[in-house]
Amino acid sequence: MKISNYNQLLAISTLISGMIIFLALWSQYQKVEKITRKHYESRLLVQTVDHLFTMSQIWLTTQDLLFSGRQTYLANGISKQSKLLTETLLMVKQKVPDNTTSDLAQELIAAIKKNDVIVNSFSHLSMQNTQAWQNTIIESDDVTSRYISVLNTILTHVLLNDRHLSNELRLATVNFTQLTWVVISLYLLTVFFTVTWFSKYIVKPIENIITLAQQPVGMLTNIQFRQANAPIEVVALSSAIQKFTQSITKEKQKAEQEGNNAVRANEKANAIMDTMPCSLFLVDEWGAIQECNSESENLLLRSKDKILTKNIGEFIPALWTLGGDFDHETALKSMEESLLSPEFTAQYIEFSGRKITIKGAVNYLITVIDINERKHSQRALSSLNEQLINAEKLASIGQLSAGIAHEINNPVGYIRCNIDVLNEYFKSIVAYIKLVGAYGNNDVAKLMYKNEDLDLVIKDIEPLIGATLEGTARISEIVKDLGNYAHVDKKSPEPIVIDELIEKSLSMVANELKYKVEIIKCLDAKVEIFGFPQKLLQVFINMLVNASHAIESKGSISIYSKTYQHEVRICFEDNGSGITQEHLKDIFNPFFTTKPVGKGTGLGLHIVRSIIEDHHGRINVSSIVGKGSKFDIYLPVHHTEEFITELLCK
């Protein structure tokens, strides 16, 4: 049977038993109440009869006063007392429970009337008529004696009735009390048995289940939860718990397996994290570090416990907003280069972050890589590149050296001739001066002057000196240009007039070009850009030398410069042999060359592109074999501070 059925049964039985108890008690109570009411009335009757006794005593005493003192005026009062007694007796007569007593009351009323007649007869007697007095008293005494006797009988009846009612009341009260106790006892007994039965049949099985459920978890597999002798719900519950326990056991085993897997995975993850060559930080949405790997300790030069709970911004200021909060947006970026806080000597880092949700909370996994070595390598590479550029530059100087030597030898040649001439002129002039000074003979001097043609000498000296000076100036210019070309750029970028730089490159390679190349130029850039002039000069020289090499016997090189909005375009176009499509894709690769061994390093165009890209520019090439090649160089005009800073770093 179900507990609900038991409950219904219990409720119905409780209701019925309650009604029975109530009716029994109510019935008994009504009985007690009825008897109590009767007893109360009886008590009132007893009091009334007692009062009647007192009235009668007074009545008789008054009569005795009349009899003894022969005071006949008392007869009137006695008559009034008789009236009151009669009224009281009438009342008693109505209230007495039986006819016998009622008849006795009536007899008393008759006695009072009879006595009244006797007492009234006194008023007719003479005080001296003693015998008549005595006779009348005797007559009255007979009546009143009978009256007292009857009154006693009435009192006896009333008291008996009252005692009877009192007994009845006591009995009824006792019965009521006993019934109440019996009912209470039965009720308690029923409650006890019900509770015992409930405890045994309902509570005990549940307690068994609870006791079994409190067994250590490891023992649950062998415990039998099913309760056979119990209500249907408890049986169902115990069966459900049995199944549930089995299910839990399975789930527990699975969970333990998964837990072991998780532990292994965690160990693996920790091993991976700790062996990762970068620092990992798990931070919460406020930037507090929740977890980190051992590499983080190496990076931040402190133990893990001094890293955890600290804000990541304390170590990487870039992850702090201006307001001092964690910068979520920056944390999700990939920063190829950033800095640790100033307290670290090796500051260069690279970091990137990802947002991950762990147990509903937003976290950030930030990877930090120490790039100080890379930075150092970059610097070394940059220095190497710079050396390479300079080597290439020196190589180009080597290539140009024959032309440059020629350019220098030419003025040197005529300077030497001029100096030889001037030396001859100097000797003649010195001899003339000596002659004039030693002899003071103008004739000899004049002869000499005439023979030596000093007029011509004097006239020729100035042009010779001028030509010599011009030659030295030219040499000086060539040397200066060469020196400038060989000179390494300053560390900081400087303004460059592109057209002038092109002109300078042309002058550097003029001797290389002048015998076979016609230069066609249209320089209309008219703009300054920021950059490194020697590097760009190297680019232009390289362009011109390559173009010159592409022309076997005779050709032309066209040079254009023009500014387009934010950039300047410099075009070098030749009508030389051109480059095959096969080679076009490789010409900017390092060490690629089609020239014979010892003629080229294969680094020229690679360095050209490198320099242009360093200036945030680009270079395009187009070529047709047999018709020539065209190189377009684009350089930005308007440079930002960022660009300048970047150039500075390079």
Binding site: S56, Q57, L60, D64, S68, I138, S145, Y147, I148, N152
Partner: protein, 199 residues
């Protein structure tokens, strides 16, 4: 001679005295004959109960003093057989629950109660008092002996008397008090005269 004179005087004033006394026998001859069947004659001695008498009673029986209405002339009857005094008769009234109770007391020459009878009593319980069981507790006792029957309050009878008067305690108390007063007043008022009858 002196004794004879007194008796003559008493007889001469007998009728007058009877007329004035409140507590007196209704039918003296018959009632004295009833108590003293051997009597041949009787005498009546009238005395007045005054304030002085009342005061003496008050001293002797502090809680049973006489009512003022009892002050006045009272009669003591002497039952005589020839020249022999048989005893004395005195009637006393006593207030009871049911009015006045008049008891006729027979007293011997030693002032002991020899018998008593109700001249007036409305209470039906007089039957109990008239039983020998109760009467024997009173009869044969003098004043002192009767006083021993009083309880400590001096107004009611003790248990030894009351147990012989089941359901008539009030009337028993009345009878005892009446007996005590009767003997006391007889001694106080008539003591001197009665000495002559005892010679």
């Amino acid at each position: 001679m002196k004794k004879l004179l007194t008796l003559v005087l008493l007889v001469l004033f007998n009728h007058h005295a009877e007329a004035e006394a409140y507590c007196s026998l209704r039918d003296p001859v018959a009632q004295i004959k009833l108590l003293y069947p051997q009597k041949t004659n009787q005498l009546s001695i009238v005395k007045e109960v005054d304030r002085n008498t009342r005061a003496q009673v008050q001293i002797e029986l502090p809680n049973n003093d006489l009512h003022y209405s009892e002050l006045g002339k009272h009669t003591l009857y002497v039952a005589i057989n020839g020249k022999k005094t048989l005893g004395y008769i005195h009637v006393r009234s006593e207030q009871s629950m049911w009015g006045l109770v008049e008891i006729v007391w027979a007293i011997d020459k030693d002032l002991k109660i020899t018998n008593f009878a109700f001249q007036r009593c409305r209470s039906p319980k007089k039957m109990i008092i008239n039983e020998d069981k109760f009467k024997s507790m009173i009869i044969g006792k003098n004043y002192e002996q009767l006083k021993e029957l009083l309880s400590s309050d001096g107004r009611t009878a003790n248990k030894s008397l009351l147990k012989n008067a089941q359901n008539a305690h009030e009337l028993a108390n009345v009878v005892l008090m009446c007996a005590l007063k009767t003997l006391l007043i007889t001694t106080i008022l008539w003591g001197e005269e009665l000495k002559q009858f005892n010679k």
